[in-house]
Symmetry: C2
Subunit: 272 residues, 2 copies
């Protein structure tokens, strides 16, 4: 299983569809549509849409409607980054070596382009057939990124930006800010693939473990968060254990088990 | 037709449901849920939900599921006000005589509570039965408040905040920033009431006219926008003509014609 080639292939498919779905910069009002393209078409790794498409195929689903779902999830991820980068939040000037949206287009357009990406994601999801899947995916995602999900994680992260969080608080931040959308990416793929309940649960659990590994590895790389509490060696051990649990969770899904395992290893091994 | 009593009755119903739908301030993380309640439960007039419920009943629909739709629309309206008030946008310190959300809770929580209100609106809409109506309403609203709707209007409004807009630009701003959500509020009510196509179109047209009257009257009161271009007398004449067209549009809907007419007069007569 050459996971890098697999990633490239799926990422290319996602990027082409995102390019086609986003309004051109020539659509009035120009600057907001330009800013939205700038925020999304920036060389992101597309981990979340890759998970959605892979989980859909893992339960025997086709990739056509799951592709729109996958793209909507990437738009939601991009919106969260644009708002997180704002001066009143994490105040970041650069992302992936380029000026952040508010540096490039000003704060007002940054707030509004984030709003626009979130709104457009739901507009796209409402176009999914059949309507029953659309509704299930909208429910899944709106819960995952709402105030009891991703937004809640960001709120607590900001609250503790100038003080040392306890371990339960750090867990809360990571599970909500990063974990919920990654888990929902997997679960949404399962929903789009019409998964049996057992398989949908397995893929949701896989996504939950993966979300934690993702954050642990980020913290190891950045010497931040968990790494400051546990130390690097314990973080690596914890990441290994969670990766093992992620792989175990999907051992019996109908298809793509080897790809799901390779993705889990890839997420863990980013530190190397 | 005592329209003030009707408004009070329906407003009370909407307020009670909003109160029940919004998370308590004791739900973790506390400050975001407090801020969302603060933004919504602020004595707003609830014109949009009143339009939704009245238009639903105008086509013979029940008010139960339309009530959730009406509340979701008010959440979207509240989100737009919280983000519009931000320092990087209109920079307003007060709304309805109280400090704006960013003054009361800080800018980060203001951005995130707006995000939370928008997200929660879609979560609520996804719970509407039947799924087919839910999807139609989500499509209607996501389009109305996206970058070709309300957000687009706000973008152009900000762009022209320090220069004099031409009349077509002013029309663009008003139709998009104010008009689209008001028209969608009416159309969503028709959708929830399972309107025949003819009645749905009539109520959409009614909403479009009403949105323009709404903005004209605001401009007359504030000596702003249209009033600076046309002068007050021409604005009043234009508002009268649009009100007439709004009433004419709904002359043949199955029910509540007198209420719809009274609402149109009320919106126009706010100037008095």
């Amino acid at each position: 299983m050459d996971i890098v080639k697999y990633f490239e292939k799926v990422k290319d498919k996602v990027d082409r569809r995102l390019e086609a779905l986003l309004q051109k910069g020539t659509t009035y009002p120009h600057n907001i549509h330009e800013a939205m393209r700038y925020a999304v078409l920036n060389g992101g790794k597309r981990i979340r849409p890759i998970l959605t498409l892979t989980c859909c195929e893992a339960v025997g689903g086709g990739a056509s409607d799951a592709l729109v779902t996958a793209c909507a999830i990437e738009l939601i991820h991009a919106y969260s980054l644009v708002h997180d980068d704002l001066p009143c939040m994490d105040d970041d000037d650069f992302r992936r070596g380029k000026p952040t949206v508010h540096k490039q287009y000003g704060e007002a357009i940054a707030v509004l382009s984030g709003d626009g990406l979130l709104t457009y994601a739901f507009e796209l999801l409402a176009g999914i057939k059949p309507a029953k899947s659309a509704i299930r995916v909208i429910r899944e995602l709106s819960t995952a990124v709402g105030t009891k999900g991703m937004i809640g994680g960001q709120v607590v992260d900001i609250e503790f930006s100038d003080k040392k969080p306890t371990l339960p608080i750090m867990d809360y931040i990571n599970i909500h800010k990063t974990g919920k959308l990654i888990a929902a990416s997997c679960h949404a793929g399962a929903i789009m693939g019409n998964a049996r309940i057992r398989d949908a649960r397995a893929l949701l659990a896989y996504g939950e473990y993966l979300g934690l590994v993702f954050q642990l590895v980020d913290d190891i790389i950045d010497h931040d968060g968990y790494a400051t509490v546990f130390g690097e060696r314990d973080c690596v051990r914890r990441a290994d254990e969670l990766t093992r649990l992620a792989k175990k969770a999907v051992a019996r899904v109908p298809k793509k088990v080897n790809v799901l395992i390779a993705i889990a290893d890839f997420v863990r091994d980013r530190r190397k």
